[in-house]
């Protein structure tokens, strides 16, 4: 962490600009599909091609998604906002201007709270504004020799731009903020938030100042980060560059830096490419965007529970540790799944363990989502109940879970077809115990001499012999008796996990 070396003298000041593609069926100002991945220049029409005489018409569902997002972020949604033209020439910008919002954005204000990792309160990241705009097309430089191709499928796809105040003083905070923001956007269902496909794009403003000062120094803009971890690296690198320049008596120039992930460094864009006067003016083709108070209130009423609220409720309602709630709320889907299971079981913590450890592990192994596993909450709850009732050991239950996902059947079916039932038959258990003791006379001696922790060793040996099917409770009693130990002695169950 670069900050460590400079923290005594300089403090980074970082702000973010986030572009989020909204998950609408059609584009911002026309009826073309907004989907990603169609053959080049097929999702286009006179409007998004910028043909002479074509006019934009606002996509109401894009506005609804933007309003929901603004409300979820605690922004002030304005009754009247104004679309504006941002004028610049670029081959993938068909009209020669982008329809955006300028001095009258859809929403302003808002706060995202970042709980400190060490539990020492929260850091408040203030939002400056949230506005709606259209995306540009894509310039493709690597498809034809010495020529640039333009794909206008993306031109006109709805975006929101979220601008934060420069409230980050460490690169990792920016990343943490983005994790939270992304989670919220996914909860809202407003965006895919896929940085690879470009549905989430982040630029940053960076400057440094003497620690403790509240002056703002010259900032640079850093672009072209294609993942959160690249963003963190880029910010650290740019902060280090600022500090180095200032320390050597130099002056930071106001410029745009392009992050090169391959080289791990940011390079300045040439001055000519960034010398823009966008000549904003109100878009005369669109009326003022009016949102009545009751429409905004109605949108607020339909907001889903946000991650932080859900996390706090899971702790409260199910008595879960904060860590569990954090993991379970990482996606909306996972949290919903947990709650469905928890409602059917008597032990929410056990349900939490199974969902966040075992089920997630199976999902990760298969690279699929929870819903793709086809593991209905009712069936998982049955399995958990068997464990709670002592009908299955944890180890056996994991095998059963795996079989359930494999076959798409119930725990009962898997147990029957694969013979995974717990062996409780005393004769059989006693036979295994006797065999085990006969094979390990030295350990028996040591145990009897007082080394009682060897009980775990014997349990393990018998378990191996039984292929994990021995009922651990009974086995333990039989072992203790057979080894002649004092049953009041406290010894640990083997950790089969």
């Amino acid at each position: 962490m670069v900050g460590a070396g400079v923290s005594s003298s300089y403090e980074p000041v970082i702000g973010l600009e986030i572009h989020v593609q909204l998950k609408t069926r059609t584009k911002m100002f026309c009826g073309c599909p907004a989907e990603f991945g169609a053959p080049p220049n097929t999702n286009v029409c006179p409007v998004c091609l910028g043909l002479p005489g074509a006019l934009p018409v606002v996509n109401r569902s894009a506005i609804e998604l933007a309003v929901q997002t603004a409300l979820a972020l605690g922004c002030d949604v304005h009754n009247r906002s104004v679309f504006a033209r941002k004028n610049y020439f670029y081959p993938d910008l068909p009209k020669g201007y982008q329809i955006s919002q300028y001095d009258r954005p859809l929403a302003t204000g808002g706060v995202v709270e970042l709980p400190a990792k060490d539990g020492s309160g929260v850091r408040r990241i203030r939002l400056r504004r949230l506005h709606v705009e259209e995306d540009s097309g894509k310039s493709i430089h690597d498809r034809f020799v010495e020529q640039t191709a333009v794909d206008l499928n993306r031109a006109g796809v709805p975006l929101i731009e979220i601008v934060t105040e420069p409230d980050f003083s460490v690169a990792s905070q920016a990343r943490e903020f983005l994790d939270r923001l992304k989670r919220m956007l996914e909860y809202l269902g407003v965006s895919d938030c896929n940085m690879e496909e470009g549905s989430l794009r982040v630029d940053a403003n960076v400057s440094v100042r003497p620690a403790g000062s509240d002056e703002l120094s010259t900032k640079t803009e850093v672009k072209n980060m294609n993942s959160f971890s690249q963003l963190e690296k880029a910010l650290e690198s740019e902060v280090a560059r600022h500090v180095a320049v200032v320390n050597s008596g130099g002056v930071i120039e106001h410029q745009t830096m392009l992050w090169d992930p391959a080289r791990g460094e940011a390079r300045p864009m040439r001055g000519k490419e960034e010398a823009h006067d966008y000549r904003y003016f109100p878009e005369p083709d669109l009326p003022v965007l009016e949102l009545a108070d009751d429409a905004v209130a109605a949108a607020a009423g339909t907001l889903p529970e946000m991650p932080q609220e859900k996390l706090e409720r899971l702790v409260r309602q199910y008595g879960l540790p904060a860590y569990d709630a954090e993991v379970l709320t990482s996606t909306h889907e996972l949290a919903d799944y947990f709650e469905a299971v928890a409602r059917l079981t008597s032990d929410p913590k056990l349900a939490s363990n199974w969902v966040m450890v075992e089920v997630l592990a199976v999902a990760n192994e298969r690279g699929s989502s929870i819903s793709d596993l086809g593991l209905e909450p009712e069936r998982l709850a049955e399995l958990i109940a068997m464990v709670a009732d002592g009908d299955l050991s944890h180890a056996l239950a994991r095998q059963v879970l795996s079989g359930m996902v494999e076959s798409g059947t119930s725990a009962e079916d898997v147990i029957n077809t694969e013979g995974l039932r717990l062996i409780k038959d005393s004769d059989e258990l006693e036979r295994w115990v006797a065999e085990t003791q006969a094979e390990n006379p030295a350990e028996v001696e040591r145990y009897r001499a007082g080394e009682v922790k060897l009980l775990a060793f014997f349990i393990g040996q018998v378990m191996r012999r039984s292929k994990g099917k021995a009922d651990p409770e009974r086995l333990r009693r039989i072992l203790e008796k057979s080894l002649g130990s004092d049953p009041s002695e406290d010894s640990a169950m083997p950790d089969t996990g």
């Binding site: 006179p46 005489g53 018409v57 004028n87 020439f89 000549r279 669109l286």
Partner: protein, 490 residues
């Protein structure tokens, strides 16, 4: 060859319906009249593109439907000309600019679609000043249009081709576009009727944008009634134009003869300046006397801020134009400079060769007026003046004034080339027309007499969406004028 029809649309409709005239014949005489008007040492040059073979099929279909007696659409079989900045499928849209070389729109303007639905025959695309920027139809890539009344003179502009086509009896009806007077000023110069509807009355979808907050498509016709008929067809809400207003469209022809008894006609003193051409002034005063004789109440009024209308207009219009014309960059359609090595060079060379001098002048001025540090002083100030003029107008209306009456243009058609090198003089021919665009109000120009054989127009400006009142006033005044030039001497 038969004479081109000089009848009004109403008369033509009657002849078509009674089958004394067939659509096929009307089409052929129309197309040959267009050809004849250009086969001259001093061609009128009203058209850039003449309709093709698909017109014959349309005409035949229309004749069949007339023959079967079930053809009742308002413009069935009527030839209509379209200004060449309005998108028509199957024909190029040039805007009289080289930059749109070989561009053919894959879609149709909402107004044109309505014309087709009403049975009209789109016979061709008319000449204009490049991108509708001009007042003489001399600023185009395809030569000037000549005034049918005097071929040494301009027809006005920018809808000079449409006005000349109607005046020369080539077509009974035409569409123009009016950003600062581009329908009314040529109507005045050519002795026809031209109307700029309320902003939002007619969809702009498919009209190539010049200044989006001012542009309106407007009808031109030989009579007020014909113009009203055409307006009724093209007006109304369109979901592809968000600035188009959802306000009911009355039958403008039904009440057109309601008269002006009790109508309060405001005469804004700023529109009768001391240096106004005395012949124009005299014709306007005579028109007011006739209106008064018909029962109208004539009242002197004032729009004090209208004296800033021309500068405000050019600040706003040029700024919007600079943005609207950014899309002509050589990347997707139209002209593209060859043998250039960078995107910047494509822009520079394409735009450098594609645009004419007047368009370039306005792009430069408009870009400047929107630039950082100049916005408030120029574009912002223009918009401010707009609001002040609108407030003046509101105030006058609040005193009970129904319509304003003014000259359309301070003079008659000027000579070809007379003002081409004097942009300020050229811009001043818009002095009485730009106000209606700045405030978004409907306005009509109709012939009120002539001076030395050249038509003079008078203008009514009405309240928003009160086209009915404007048309009634114009119809009443028109009915008092018997000697207005109906034909343009073809």
């Amino acid at each position: 060859m038969a004479e081109p029809p000089t009848r009004t649309t109403h008369a033509l409709r009657e002849e078509l319906r009674s089958r004394r005239l067939r659509v096929g014949d009307l089409l052929r005489t129309t197309l040959s009249a267009i050809d004849a008007s250009d086969a001259d040492a001093a061609p009128i040059n009203a058209f850039i593109t003449r309709g093709g073979s698909q017109l014959e099929e349309q005409a035949a279909a229309l004749d069949r439907s007339f023959d079967s007696g079930d053809e009742a659409r308002p413009l069935a079989g009527i030839p209509v000309a379209i200004k060449d900045n309005i998108s028509v499928r199957g024909m190029p849209t040039t805007c009289a600019s080289r930059v749109l070389e070989a561009y053919e729109p894959p879609y149709e303007a909402a107004a044109v679609r309505r014309l087709r639905d009403a049975g009209a025959l789109i016979v061709g695309k008319t000449n204009l000043d490049e991108f509708a920027m001009g007042s003489s139809t001399e600023n185009g890539a395809f030569g000037p249009t000549r005034n049918p009344h005097d071929r040494g003179r301009v027809p006005g502009g920018s809808s000079g081709g449409s006005a000349a086509a109607v005046a020369a009896n080539l077509v009974p009806l035409a569409l123009g576009s009016d950003t600062g007077g581009s329908v009314r000023q040529p109507a005045s110069f050519c002795g026809v009727v031209g109307l700029k509807p309320t902003y939002g009355r007619v969809s702009r979808y498919g009209l190539v944008a010049f200044a989006s907050s001012l542009d309106q498509i407007g009808p031109l016709g030989r009579t007020v009634e014909d113009t009203a008929l055409l307006l009724g067809v093209i007006a109304g809400r369109d979901r592809f134009d968000s600035t188009c207003v959802d306000s009911p469209v009355p039958d403008y022809t039904e009440t057109i003869d309601a008269g002006v008894e009790g109508l309060v006609v405001g005469v804004p003193r700023e529109f009768f300046p001391e240096d106004l051409d005395p012949h124009v002034e005299a014709l306007c005063r005579a028109a007011l006397d006739r209106l008064e004789a018909l029962g109208a109440v004539i009242r002197d009024v004032s729009l004090p801020n209208s004296k800033y209308a021309v500068p405000a207009y050019y600040l706003v219009a040029n700024a919007e134009a600079s943005s609207n014309l950014a899309r002509y960059d050589g990347v997707r359609y139209g002209l593209r400079a060859k043998d250039v090595q960078s995107a910047q060079a494509v822009y520079r060379e394409t735009r450098g060769m594609g645009f004419g001098p007047e368009v370039k002048r306005r792009i430069v001025l408009g870009t400047y007026g929107l630039s950082a540090g100049f916005y408030d002083q120029y574009y912002g100030r223009g918009q401010q003046v707009r609001r002040l003029i609108a407030a003046d107008f509101e105030q006058v209306c609040a005193t009970g004034v129904d319509v304003l009456f003014t000259p359309t243009v301070p003079g008659v058609a000027f000579r070809l080339g007379e003002r081409i090198n004097d942009p300020v003089q050229m811009y001043l021919s818009d002095v009485f027309t730009v106000t209606a665009n700045l405030i978004g109000a409907p306005a009509i120009s109709l012939p009120i007499g002539d001076h030395d054989g050249l038509p003079v127009g008078g203008q009514f400006i009405g309240r928003h969406f009160q086209e009915t009142v404007v048309l009634q006033a114009a119809w009443a005044l028109e009915s008092t004028i018997s000697d207005r030039p109906l034909t343009g001497g073809v």
